[in-house]
């Protein structure tokens, strides 16, 4: 049995579903103590139950937080440090898709809402976690960007701006903190079948969203959606000591789709 996270404290936002939940499950199996954060308390409990099903002795802290509220972010970081004494690895992941629309129709409020969660939330998370990691002199952070954060997809003004922003923050902060033994990277997931992507497909075609999904992955070189656990494997690798020399960079996990847009 491998256990890259034996005794390590791993903090995950957006842990109630999708990529956050899949990563929590993978990392729990490798011996981590988990601090899980989500806006939705019920979904957090669900993730905890799934973790305990596969790792009955797992040490799991749950904190409900809206990541667009800096005080709430400061609180989940403080809770983690109080409970576990450290933050060794941070999956800064919580995000929303926003309503799809042309740029002119996107709406200022919608734009700000998406930016508040996807960009500001990631920034607040790094701000408070990096203080802890800098004191420790070690740590690794994985931010969730997106293929929509390195390519134009269309109808996603808020999402595109926020996810490109996450890619930019990752490079900026990675360059700042390498000297403290901290590496910061981002992942750029493509068509991963999460509740969020299901929501996007339902916006595209509410009645035939599964058909819309098939159309969506036709141009994908691997001709399929990715699974959340496949992203969990990547997140676990990047947060582990195996990836210490990988810093300030964005890693697509998309079946090759970023090369097709």
């Amino acid at each position: 049995m491998h256990n890259r996270f034996d005794g390590k404290v791993v903090l995950i936002t957006g842990a109630g579903s999708g990529l956050g939940q899949a990563s929590a499950l993978q990392i729990a199996k490798e011996g981590a103590r988990l601090s899980l954060v989500d806006l939705n308390t019920a979904s957090l409990e669900e993730t905890k139950n799934k973790v305990l099903e596969s790792v009955p002795k797992a040490d799991v802290l749950l904190t409900t937080a809206d990541v667009s509220d800096e005080k709430a972010v400061e609180n989940y970081v403080n809770q983690t440090v109080q409970q576990f004494g450290a933050v060794d690895a941070f999956f800064n992941n919580a995000g929303i898709e926003g309503k799809q629309n042309l740029t002119e129709d996107f709406g200022i409020e919608e734009f700000q809402k998406v930016i508040n969660v996807n960009l500001n939330g990631i920034f607040y998370g790094m701000k408070h976690v990096l203080k802890v990691m800098k004191k420790q002199g070690s740590g690794s952070i994985v931010n969730t960007a997106s293929v929509g954060g390195i390519r134009g997809v269309g109808n996603q003004s808020g999402y595109a701006a926020s996810k490109h922003g996450v890619a930019g923050l990752t490079k900026n902060s990675g360059i700042e903190y390498g000297q403290y033994g901290i590496s910061i990277k981002a992942i750029a997931p493509g068509a991963i079948m999460t509740p969020m992507v299901e929501g996007s497909l339902k916006q595209m075609d509410p009645d035939n969203w599964e058909e819309a999904g098939k159309e969506f992955v036709k141009p994908n070189p691997m001709k399929r959606f990715g699974k959340p656990e496949e992203v969990g494997y990547l997140v676990a690798f990047l947060l582990s000591d195996q990836a210490n020399f990988i810093n300030a960079t964005i890693i697509p996990i998309d079946g090759g789709q970023a090369n097709k847009y």
């Binding site: 360059i175 033994g181 691997m222 690798f237 210490n244 020399f245 090759g256």
Partner: protein
């Protein structure tokens, strides 16, 4: 315990007599792959096999000049003859960078370097793909590029051209073979402590203390094992949805 595992898989690692290739062959063997140590250097290549076997691994040496198509084809044939199939390949073999400005580059060295670092990598990939397509159950190819595949290094015109080319060919092959579940990715190492890097330092008269902070935001050279870890992850089934991707393992160098 090495993770992820490559149990049941056969892996070719080119240029694995020394440096990053050697670290990769050793790590893959520790991950339970059957490893083909493919190199031009017979003496060091055989030493690598002996070392791997002494540590309980399985490996076989094949002497190859990757710029020669016949020899590359023979390497694949011998691999299949020896171990039955081919599942993973790390195309790592490369010639030391040139050292002359663009206005004065040595044309004979250009031809030699391009024939190995660019054409040789393409030839390896071509025949690895053919074998994997024939087998019909997927595969994973990792082409070793470099920070020089993304950023210019003065006086390294042939090396920079070749390594940019490796990035391009990786993406083309990824686009073409995703539907066959053959994944093609690249690792782009930064300043890694290898005989190649030590040679460049010697040539330019710089010390590690002067050179490392210029090239690495962590203020240290990377270790060959750190590149091997990235290749292992890409080679394994853990990266089943990753193709056409470059992992920059350079401490942040290419993000500045």
């Amino acid at each position: 315990m090495t993770f992820p595992v490559l149990e049941g898989k056969v892996a070719i690692v080119t240029g694995s007599a020394m440096g990053m290739g050697l670290a990769t062959a050793k790590l893959f063997a520790a991950a339970k792959a059957k490893v083909i140590v493919a190199d031009f250097n017979e003496e060091k290549g055989k030493e690598a096999v002996t070392e791997i076997e002494a540590n309980g691994g399985t490996a076989h040496f094949i002497k190859v000049d990757i710029s020669n198509s016949d020899q590359v084809q023979s390497m694949i044939a011998e691999t299949v003859e020896k171990y039955g199939h081919l599942d993973v390949a790390v195309n790592n073999a490369a010639l030391t960078p040139d050292n002359a400005p663009a206005a004065e580059f040595d044309e004979a060295y250009w031809d030699k370097l391009i024939s190995i670092d660019l054409t040789g990598t393409a030839l390896c990939m071509k025949y690895e793909l053919q074998q994997m397509i024939k087998q019909g159950n997927g595969g994973s190819i990792v082409n070793i590029s470099s920070v020089s595949g993304f950023r210019p290094q003065p006086n390294n015109i042939a090396y920079v051209a070749a390594k940019h080319g490796v990035v391009g060919m990786t993406k083309v092959a990824a686009m073409e073979n995703g539907d066959k579940n053959i994944r093609v990715n690249s690792v782009a190492p930064g300043a890694i402590d290898t005989p190649m890097l030590r040679g460049s330092l010697e040539e330019t008269g710089q010390t590690e203390e002067e050179f490392a902070p210029q090239l690495s935001l962590l203020g240290r050279f990377g270790q060959p094992e750190e590149i091997a870890e990235a290749s292992l992850w890409l080679a394994s089934d853990q990266s089943s949805y990753v193709t056409g991707t470059v992992i920059h393992a350079d401490a942040g160098y290419t993000s500045r």
